[in-house]
Amino acid sequence: MKNSAPENPGAHSRRTFLKSLGTVAATAATAQVKTVAAELEKANAEKIIGPDAVPVTLNVNGEKIKLLLEPRVTLLDALRNYSSLTGAKEGCDRATCGACTVLFDDAPIYACQKLAIEAQGHAITTVEGLAKDGKLNKVQLAFIEKDALQCGYCTPGFVMSITALLKKNFHPTADEVKHACAGNLCRCGCHPHILQAALKAAGVEHASKTEVVTYA
């Protein structure tokens, strides 16, 4: 396995791709090519970013965080490794487990799939930002009451997904909760309690069906 030097990440950028297209496009006259030319002009007007670190300003939990990041740094990486916000967890780093779920202008997203530079100008909320003045939100409270967690590593992601759901749907059905949590994995197997907690946060009480029987 002789490896060549790593490729320059800038070598295949959208801009250079369009630029190479452009030399051909200059002599053509179809409407389609005109569109390409317009794109090219727009791309040329864009500032080249990276591969070295660039200043990035993130708006997280209502506070501005200024960081110096390579453009390839994800929002999750920026939160966890370039600032001290480790509430969003890394479980896979490829959009499959949901442990990194944060709110992006109130919509739940995988922070591992958003570049930090793209997150600029948007309101990011992490699990650390949910409790206002130390008061837990109703999802957090319900998670504790219903024991919707064991090891707790997937918990921030589930709490964010359900918080996002309840922002737009005050009275979700069980199926709507399941749909909202379809992108979150839990290995300890807390799902029944997570469902109960989500419904409890929406005002629906679901009594445990567990029975205790004495042997003797």
Partner: protein
């Protein structure tokens, strides 16, 4: 003999987790969250061959990458690779991006070697030897009782079946890993582990340090399920990187790493022959089983052993039995302990065979179990469960369900003969004049609510509330505690906390003259302690915990005979665990065991490519875990047996699920799917709707 109180305020009731707030706010710091001063990112380079001879590894180009501070070899310039994903080298740098660049820059000279990836291929005499000079598949040694041949002749019904289970991967949500800081003063590892003591001992041994020079801290960890007891190659590499870089290094595995190299449940291929008298009494049992523990099998010189054996015949009393078992070595990551090692595959094989035999006998499979299960607790559990589940009303002969979507029910039992308390468990409590009390135990909370268990017991015995108890765990500087595994944690720490509390009350009485410092007298007594807090040391005591634990589960499924999709509609778990400490967290653990068992039954399987020796599904998009929409209604009946003291529940809760679901599927469609996971493809093939799959 000490005994637990019978009238209780907290023990056996519901107590929310004392660390719940930390976990729902993101304040809980896991190993992967540790940001030690000046920390570096660490990553591992892994083999791209299932077998190879590496003759040179050049780390120089990696060290030239901007931001890289250290690069170390896993074993040496020369090494033999035995599985795809084996550790070769590791780098530490100022960012993940720098590490990714550096791993790509490392130059390796290697000669690929022949390999074998599948159990069946590895058994052949012509197969490449995973451990040269050692057979991949040593001759199994039979274990025999009674006269099997004669007993089979007496049977009214005999079945022969082939039941197989896949390699299952632990996949805790937090991968393995550590942040390690190695300075002249010693080594500190913030570890994602279920055994702080075993990690300390492992690191000290591998790095030639005194145990006293190594401190392991695990304040929070994101699941383990048996994979996270040791220091691991990743822990040792992080330490070496820290020493070389003179900075703390955080090295967490990627999800790919986790699926390739740090443990799994061995597969099983069980050929079972079983026979019974006309009344259902089991008379004869014969089984031949093999499975792979990856490179964990066959490497012990003589071969054999290797962690693929399962307890057969499982649960039931059979006077005449012969069992031959063996582990097969293949070029794949080694097996490790995995929640109730050996038991889920044994339960699946045995319980499938039981249902097949019941069909042949024309018996209700529940009746066949009651006829042959010698355990009185499970007898009671089957009866309780059958009543709640409506077994009699729901049971139909296999395959008699009408329509395209067929329904079926099944049940299965579990035993976990190990468990019980670890006699070496110790702990201490410090009581301050202001009435505050802090417990310190060198155990860790794997997610089962260990901290809360300590608080519940202390609150009960001292007449306080759980919120008044401060609990510190997860530090090797505390008195030593057990690893979190084998259903031993609760039975280890509960008697220890009992002992600490008893001694604390005795000492308070001696020191303050107040005869009973509990409850309303607590603060007055503490005030009289004097200036310095008192510290009480306690240890595990006999008579307050026991083993084994067991349980039975019932499953109801729907099978769509056009798509092959299995939907679990309902699960009922009936479990005994001695004295219930915290009903709420206990219910969580049983739910979790059942859901993990569902994954084993229907979704999970490591898939190896036999042509390339590569694991084809080392990630969550292709290694499927149950999701919230897959999880049915789960009901639990807890059989409280305070007279037995504290018993663990982690293992038995996951044992019978796959067997119960598999039996429910067979009951629905009238055909046995003898191979886990029960995928739509296997269902359709069994129904003759598509050609059989290669499995």
């Amino acid at each position: 003999m000490p005994s637990w109180p019978t009238e209780t305020k907290y023990i056996s009731h519901d107590t929310t987790r004392i660390d719940g707030v930390a976990k729902v706010t993101g304040r809980a710091r896991y190993a992967s969250d540790i940001q030690a001063e000046g920390w570096l990112y660490g990553m591992i380079l892994r083999a791209k061959w299932p077998a190879a001879k590496i003759t040179d590894i050049n780390l120089e180009p990696a060290l030239k990458v901007s931001g890289i501070k250290a690069a170390v070899l896993a074993r040496g310039q020369e090494m033999t690779v035995r599985f795809y994903g084996e550790e070769i080298a590791a780098v530490a740098g100022t960012s993940k991006q720098a590490c990714l660049d550096a791993l790509r820059a490392i130059e390796i000279t290697a000669q690929p070697l022949p390999f074998v990836a599948r159990e069946n291929d590895a058994k052949k005499a012509s197969a490449p030897q995973v451990w040269p000079g050692s057979s991949n598949h040593p001759e199994p040694k039979p274990r025999e009782r009674g006269n099997v041949e004669a007993a089979f002749k007496d049977c009214a019904a005999v079945i022969e079946g082939f039941y197989s289970t896949p390699v299952q991967i632990h996949n805790p949500m937090e991968t393995m890993g550590n942040t390690v800081s190695w300075t002249d003063d010693g080594l500190t590892a913030w570890s994602s582990t279920q055994g702080i003591s075993s990690v300390r001992d492992g690191l000290a041994g591998a790095l030639k340090l005194d145990h006293s020079q190594v401190r392991v801290i695990t304040e929070y960890m994101g699941g383990g399920f048996g994979a996270k007891f040791g220091a691991g190659a990743e822990g040792v590499l992080a330490a070496k990187l820290s020493k070389e870089a003179k900075a703390p290094v955080r090295l967490m595995l990627t999800r790919f790493d986790q699926n390739l190299a740090v443990g799994n449940r061995a597969s099983s291929f069980q050929k079972i022959k079983m026979g019974a008298a006309a009344d259902g009494t089991l008379l004869a049992f014969e089984a031949e089983n093999y499975g792979t523990a990856g490179i964990g099998a066959g490497g012990d010189g003589g071969g054999g052993g290797g962690g693929a054996d399962i307890p057969l015949p499982y649960l039931y009393k059979v006077a005449n039995s012969r069992v031959k078992q063996s582990a097969v070595a293949v070029n794949a990551g080694s097996a490790r302990a995995f929640r109730a090692p050996g038991n889920p595959p044994a339960s699946f094989g045995m319980e499938s065979a039981m249902d097949d035999l019941a069909v042949k006998l024309g018996m209700d499979p529940l009746e066949l179990r009651l006829k042959n299960d010698p355990n009185p607790i499970r007898q009671k559990e089957y009866k309780l469960g059958a009543e709640k589940f409506g077994w009699k009303e729901k049971y139909r002969k296999p395959g008699s369900s009408k329509g395209v979507v067929k329904t079926g029910i099944g049940c299965a039992g579990a035993a976990w003969p190990a468990g019980g308390g670890n006699r070496n468990t110790q702990g201490e409590a410090q009581i301050s004049p202001d009435g505050s009390i802090e417990f310190r135990l060198g155990v860790q909370d794997i997610g089962t609510g260990t901290r809360t268990v300590i608080a519940v017991i202390a609150a009960e015995l001292l007449g306080l509330t759980p919120g008044q108890i401060t609990v510190k765990v997860g530090d090797t500087r505390f008195p030593p505690g057990p690893g979190s595994g084998g259903s031993t944690t609760c039975p280890s720490i509960s008697p220890t906390v009992f002992d600490i509390c008893t001694k604390a009350l005795e000492q308070l009485q001696t020191q303050t003259g107040i005869p009973d410092a509990r409850g309303k007298n607590w603060f007055a007594a503490c005030k009289k302690i004097g200036i310095n807090p008192i510290t009480v040391h306690g240890q595990w005591r006999d008579g307050l915990s026991s083993n084994p634990a067991g349980g039975v589960q019932f499953a109801e499924v729907e099978v769509d005979t056009e798509t092959g999709q299995v939907t679990v509609k309902k699960m009922l778990g009936v479990h005994d665990c001695g004295l219930i400490i915290n009903r709420l967290t206990l219910e969580s653990q049983i739910n979790g065991g059942i859901i993990m068992g569902m994954g084993y039954a229907l979704y999970e399987e490591r898939v190896m490519d036999d042509l390339s020796g590569v694991v084809l599904n080392p990630n969550f998009e292709t290694y499927k875990l149950p999701g919230i929409a897959d999880v049915p209604e789960i009901e639990v009946i807890l059989v409280n047996m305070p007279e037995r003291g504290v018993v663990g529940i982690g293992e038995p809760a996951t044992v019978p699920t796959a067997g119960a679901i598999a039996n429910a599927v067979a009951n629905a469609i009238g055909v046995r799917i003898g191979s886990l996971p029960i995928t739509p493809a296997k269902i359709l093939a069994a129904l003759g709707k598509v050609p059989p799959t290669h499995a």
